[in-house]
Symmetry: C4
């Protein structure tokens, strides 16, 4: 278990640098068989140590906890476990990336994008497919997201991610590697959508018809 706990600390530093886990937000859980390792709530994700980790069962019972009595398991626990239970995920990442948040402002109920190479990084998707990510509405308390997250996972059987409006995204995978590389692909796609949106606005207003067409037609 301790190598998983160390890995979560390493990934916490990586996700902080990527802008996914600033201000104690964001995080990752990793499952080993029937045990899920989860970080504590409200700590700096780039400065965690292995002794601070919790392990919980897939049903959410605490199996082991850190010595520090002030620590509580991540607020994301029930959300993480939804993806573990419903999709047999081996790892789930929650990101507060500003690209994910901004992408939720551009769409009503579903983020969608097509014909970008990075779509191929998502399980089961190819270049010409239309990638759809459901967007659920945010709630005042993170745990209150569980019901709508579960509904989105069930309603979109092909998705590997659920966006949360004005908040961020949950991404999972069969193991931590796939969860992480899929999270990177999704993050690129959210950022690409925001940037293409900005260029489209510019083009329509002021560019030659050739370039504007090029943006619209593709």
């Amino acid at each position: 278990m301790s190598s998983t706990a160390s890995l979560i600390c390493d990934l916490g530093r990586d996700f902080y640098r990527l802008g996914w886990a600033t201000g104690t937000g964001g995080g990752i859980c990793i499952r080993d068989g029937a045990q899920v390792t989860i970080a504590p709530s409200g700590v700096q994700k780039e400065r965690m140590t292995p002794e601070q980790m919790f392990t919980v069962s897939i049903a959410g019972e605490i199996l082991s906890r850190p010595d520090d009595p002030s620590l509580r398991p991540s607020e994301c626990t029930s959300l993480f476990l939804a993806a573990v239970r419903l999709r047999d995920a081996g790892a789930v990442i929650h990101s507060h990336s500003i690209h994910a948040m901004l992408a939720t402002l551009l769409f009503e109920r579903e983020f969608e994008i097509s014909e970008l190479e990075m779509i191929k990084g998502i399980e089961g998707m190819s270049y010409h497919d239309r990638l759809v990510v459901p967007i659920i509405e945010n709630t005042a308390r993170e745990c209150d997201l569980a019901a709508s997250l579960e509904a989105a996972i069930i309603g979109y059987p092909r998705t590997q991610a659920v966006l949360v409006r004005r908040h961020g995204v949950y991404v999972w995978g069969r193991d931590w590697k796939q969860a992480k590389t899929q999270a990177e692909c999704y993050d690129y796609l959210f950022r690409a959508a925001v940037e293409m949106h900005k260029l489209k606005g510019v083009s329509d207003a002021s560019l030659s018809s050739r370039s504007a067409e090029s943006l619209v037609r593709r």
Copy 2:
């Protein structure tokens, strides 16, 4: 005291990498009981050493100083101490983040934002609350900001930060961890406001009514 001095040097490197402390600007003070550790003025914040630190009382008297006679305490000292005295802050961060500076160009007297998950990272705030940060006008000399900073702290009893027009932001917390994580949340919110502003401009001019509505309505 020396562990606090080392921590300030570490955080100086972190803040430099975040773009909060370039060109010798920005910084942090940390209070241990009645003693406040403060960096010197005009030095590269990513290359400080513990021997360069000052300690001052809460009233501003110098308690200890570095051997190097050319060093003077940070220009921010009186501003840092305002938050220590008026809010019992355990640490105060001053950031020159370009996101904070740009955010001061979008609002008259108060930065305000609502319904973003990162608002929950600010003491006492929940998702649906309207987060308000007072903006004070900049002055030619940093020490001349003290009176208006104090007035803003008193006038906005719920705020954990004060923006300075065309300059940056002061953020505090009960200890260095809370000051830092709150500073990260504020920085995200300032950047989000700037980016949403850009997208809104684009949307109004050129996007489908669906997307534009989505931006306006939320």
Copy 3:
């Protein structure tokens, strides 16, 4: 061979940090005489180890392979080898940089730019030259790009790079150093084109004629 394998792992970390190789995408091959070292497909490019590398002949035969039987050579192999064969390249870089991808949205068949200092970083180009980079259309499978990549390399004898629409770019050089520094110059130029595009849109709509002229005239 092992120093080349280590170098590829180092460069993988660098390219990941630059945003060229996220989500297992992107990569580099390096040729030593008649042997080409190539990374495996579908692995995290910032976490590779030297034992994971393949060596192939210039014709594409596998000369040595890693012990791990689950690894296959990079999907880019036939594309990398096209530049090796047709241009005697000593190294080829494939980047998924978002700047390269966005640049392909602004042009029909050829990216072009002129009068930027960074153009001088490209073999045989000077400041006043018109730098042209052919853009080929993306395909569902990476290996299906080989024919159009070869055609572009042959059709543009002066180019050191080929863009792939909505995907990224291939850049080569006589050795890994030139391939890398040229890839950096191209990446800057793609980003510059996107940023100049945004500023041009803003200028036309709202700036003083002086500034707008300045943008148009140059």
Copy 4:
């Protein structure tokens, strides 16, 4: 001399990470008395070693050179020495920052900005001063910039920097620390000008009059 040579290598890595020295461009020279240490031309600025450095006199004579016979002194040598001679600079930085380059597209002959805190980081300037940076036209060969760079230094006795159109910037200081911190302040100011330009465009087109006024009035 060897500590200066090591420092240049360290700063090369820093400037590469800041985006000032990609693709072998950019660099720094440091003067110790009558000797100036200068990096070689055309090498990766983040991978230099102390043995690769040249030393030259203020008049430009080579005093010592690296063993590697393929190395030539930086193309910037005569430009660096102009600031050393005319301003008694202790260090000169050349940056290819994209913010500097984009800033040269927004102005005719002089970059100017006022009322930003970071202006105070420039020697002799205060918050309300109008900071002016002359812009010289780029040339096909870097050494051909010398005459116009000298003319700009003489013509603008208060400036600590000269911008080069569609290219980058030269910044100097009394020693490497001041040159570096001034270069950071200038870089922030160039980026701020570009970002404020984008926001102004957006505001004029689509924002409430309150925010637009706020941008214009200040």
